[in-house]
Amino acid sequence: MRYLVFVAGLMRATLAWAETPELTVYTYDSFVSDWGPGPQVEKAFEAQCGCDLKLAGVEDGAALLARIKLEGSAGDADVMLGIDTNLMAAARDTGLFAEHGLSPELDLPVSWDDDMFLPYDWGYFAFVYNADQKAPGSIRELAESDATIIIQDPRSSTPGLGLLLWVKAAYGDMAESIWEELSDNIVTVTRGWSEAYGLFLEGEADMVLSYTTSPAYHLIAEEDAGKAAAEFSEGHYMQVEVAAKLKSADQPELADRFLEFMLSEEFQSVIPTTNWMYPAVAPKGGLPAGFETLIKPSRAILMSPEEALASRDAALDEWLRALSQ
């Protein structure tokens, strides 16, 4: 008898579990890991939504969009979180995403009025170096110096693509000659950010392409003030990371709630010390101590999504020509 009660209880529990709606968010790998924003975000959202939030991680932004395209409308995803503005035009062209219908107050250095994609964090690309060394003051100075750098391949990495567009936006028709001058500074070109940053920490080069917020990780998590980001006079190219709801979402209301939650204090306050980026809405208590030590570029550069898509192929050809000599 007791056994039967147990089984009945178990069945009821299973039924209850099956009735809980499930919201599936596709994002990139580092978001879902134990030390990324994922676990805290999941806990906070589940506490208010009466649902099961499932975060599925796919390598990175570009792989994420490729996955959504592969699945088309047959996929499980309700929300995609984690591409940047450089991929937005391609994402919009898929016709898979729905409008968000929100008009939030954002704290971005640029204005934002996209009806489909909502930003959740942002940062500036920068070259990071050991603070006890001297850093060049511009891309041109870097190209003329004999400092060694490690960069990422624009065809496989979002920072790599960011640098490509950075140089293009800053130098236009001169971009190819800047890359030619940079070619003797480049120790190697890696597939992704992790390899490049790892090589830099191993001492393989003087500088590495990363973010202005990178020194904050070392300062806050490792209590090491030894890293700095170089401020360049051309200005710094931005990365804005965005999310959107899929038209084919099984749970459209939950997806809307999630996008709203994404810009709330609970989500945004987790971002600085888990994703190591600036939150899209400044938290009420301000940024964590240590962020005030970071450089604040006086000029933010960001191509519009359409402009980025239109100029990347020509910029890539220049890059390949200059670095293949």
């Binding site: 790998d29 580092s30 879902v32 890991s33 134990d34 030390w35 990324g36 994922g38 499932k54 975060l55 599925a56 991680g57 796919v58 390598e59 570009a62 792989a63 969009l65 490729a66 996955r67 395209k69 592969l70 699945e71 047959a74 996929g75 499980d76 391609a90 391949d153 624009p154 065809r155 496989s156 070619s183 480049i186 120790v187 190697t188 070109v189 890696t190 597939r191 992704g192 950010w193 992790s194 390899e195 940053y197 790892g198 090589l199 920490l201 191993e202 001492g203 393989e204 080069a205 990178s214 990780y217 070392h218 998590a221 190591w276 890539l316 890059w319 390949l320 670095l323 293949s324």
Partner: protein, 518 residues
């Protein structure tokens, strides 16, 4: 030989091979059919194809040339710690590429041990980035495998041959001419083919050492086609080119394999009387020492940087280690299920199609097969739920050609040597397998299973296409740690990865040769 003995009909092996080929081609087709109009293959892709063939040829030749004297020295010397050394020399091959590259850089990098030594002596630093860097990395990965395969060739020469040679006073050049060169002619082409195929599909990580977009391989170009342009047509096309090149080269190399068998001995333990002169002793010793130095220094560097973090690793690392072990065991079982019937069928004379079918698993881009399977699965199931079985299957397909190289020569010897006797005893297929074949081949089975587990543990492969937070494998977790600035924890995870893959390899390999001569 009017009625050649076939202990087991090759039917089973052919069926398995047909399944593997259908799966691989089906996956490629699925990718190609899903493609929208792309820009096709341009100059950047042709440059990648040229570079790939160049670096793969150089790497294969360098690995095999260096492996021959090392294998020779290991074959004719017995010294304390020889077995452990042979096992340790296998470690680079089973390391995940990213771990191995960081190990190499600790030794040969800008602030590495070698350059610190050079600067103490006031010498200019060594620069590892460039084509030579890619070749160095590939030699580091593949020389151990080449050494093992060639060493196996030496061990297949029956002890009686060496006994006879000693009685006839054959030593030095005569030994080289009469026994060693004919043996090498049989073993080297297959070894070259395998190493070439591995280097053909080399991915981004070894290319860190290439220094720039010049060092782009076809595999990386496939990845970029997916990522940058979502050009599935170009990805499928590049994958077909890569496979055609690999199979053509391998077919050519395997076609060169000539020469008769050495005949069979009684399977007694091997004793060598040749090479007793001090000069050849010193020479052998030098080769072994150099190889050990080159292969073991980076391994020690990995251990040194991983040890401090090992005690305080995040919980996720341990969880993913368990996932990885499960995948490795599954992939080893799948592998043996394919490789044993196929090797029997090859040994029974159906070599052409089956050997090439085996190579396809290595020649196909893991990214393309993973994506193809994904496209097929998504029609009727949630791919996330099938992430681990698919990973195990793709890993098994990748290791298939190695397993065949390991299993086929011995299977051939068994069938040639024991087949007629078994036939005269009227032994049927299953009895032959149970009484003759399996007991004699268990060392090779252990080696193949160990290799597949080790490679599977270290492989990032297709899991990145499918993973969610619960199914992350250890290499994926290591990448996640690196992606979150946690290089120290990642170094700890790398050490755990090294220990696991090496430990599993050791257990299986040792288990197979229990009570047998290494």
């Amino acid at each position: 030989m009017a009625s050649r003995f076939k202990p087991i009909s090759p039917f089973c092996g052919i069926l398995v091979a047909a399944f593997a080929v259908a799966l691989i081609l089906g996956a490629m087709l699925a990718v190609a059919l899903r493609a929208e109009a792309g820009r096709g293959i341009g100059p950047a892709e042709w440059a990648a194809i040229k570079f790939t063939v160049l670096q793969a040829s150089l790497s294969a030749i360098a690995s095999v040339i260096l492996a021959i004297p090392v294998a020779r020295a290991l074959a004719r010397r017995r010294f304390p710690g020889r077995r452990i050394l042979i096992a340790l020399l296998g470690a680079p091959f089973i390391l995940p590429a990213i771990v191995a590259v960081f190990g190499l850089l600790e030794v040969f990098g800008r602030t590495g041990w070698v350059n610190s030594g050079l600067s103490l002596l006031g010498l200019p630093p060594l620069h590892i980035y460039g084509l030579h860097g890619v070749v160095v990395a590939h030699v580091f990965f593949n020389m151990p495998l080449a050494t093992r395969l060639i060493l196996q060739g030496w061990q297949q020469v029956p002890g009686e041959r060496f006994r006879m040679a000693a009685q006839l006073g054959i030593d030095g050049m005569a030994m080289v001419r009469l026994i060693e060169i004919p043996m090498l002619v049989k073993v080297v082409p297959g070894t070259l083919a395998v190493v070439f195929a591995i280097c053909m599909t080399s991915f981004a990580v070894a290319l860190i050492l290439g220094g720039g977009p010049r060092a782009t391989t076809v595999e990386l170009a496939i990845y970029q086609a997916f990522r940058f342009d979502f050009d599935l047509g170009r990805a499928a096309m590049l994958s077909a080119i890569q496979m055609a090149l690999t199979i053509a080269a391998a077919g050519f190399a395997l076609g060169l394999v000539r020469g008769d068998s050495f005949g069979t001995g009684l399977g007694r333990s091997l004793q060598r009387w040749d090479g007793a002169k001090p000069v050849s002793r010193i020479l052998d010793g030098t080769w072994v020492a150099l190889a050990a130095f080159f292969l073991l220094l980076p391994i020690s560097a990995i251990m040194a940087s991983g040890l401090p973090a090992l005690t305080e690793m995040p919980h996720e690392v341990w969880r993913s280690a368990v996932v990885s072990i499960a995948v490795a065991v599954a992939s080893a079982i799948l592998l043996l299920g394919m490789a044993l019937p196929m090797s029997l069928a090859i040994a029974a004379g159906r070599s052409g199609f089956l050997e090439l079918a085996g190579l396809m698993g290595l020649a196909v881009s893991p990214l393309v097969i993973g994506t193809g399977l994904f496209i097929m699965i998504v029609q009727f199931a949630n791919p996330l739920r099938l992430a681990l079985p698919v990973t195990a299957l793709v890993n098994a397909l990748t290791v298939l050609p190695f397993a065949l190289r390991i299993l086929v020569p011995e299977t051939r010897e068994i069938i040639q040597g024991q087949g007629r006797l078994a036939m005269s005893l009227d032994m049927d297929g299953p009895a032959f397998l149970r009484l003759v074949h399996l007991p004699r081949i268990r060392a090779q089975i252990g080696f193949a299973a160990g290799l597949s587990m080790a490679l599977s543990i270290g492989d990032l492969g297709v899991i990145a296409l499918f993973a969610d937070s619960e199914t992350a494998t250890l290499p994926l977790t290591m990448y996640r740690l690196m992606g979150a600035y946690r290089m120290e924890s990642a170094a700890g995870a790398a050490l755990l990865l090294l220990a696991l893959s090496f430990g599993l390899f050791w257990i299986m390999d040792r288990g197979g040769r229990w009570h047998a001569e290494a």
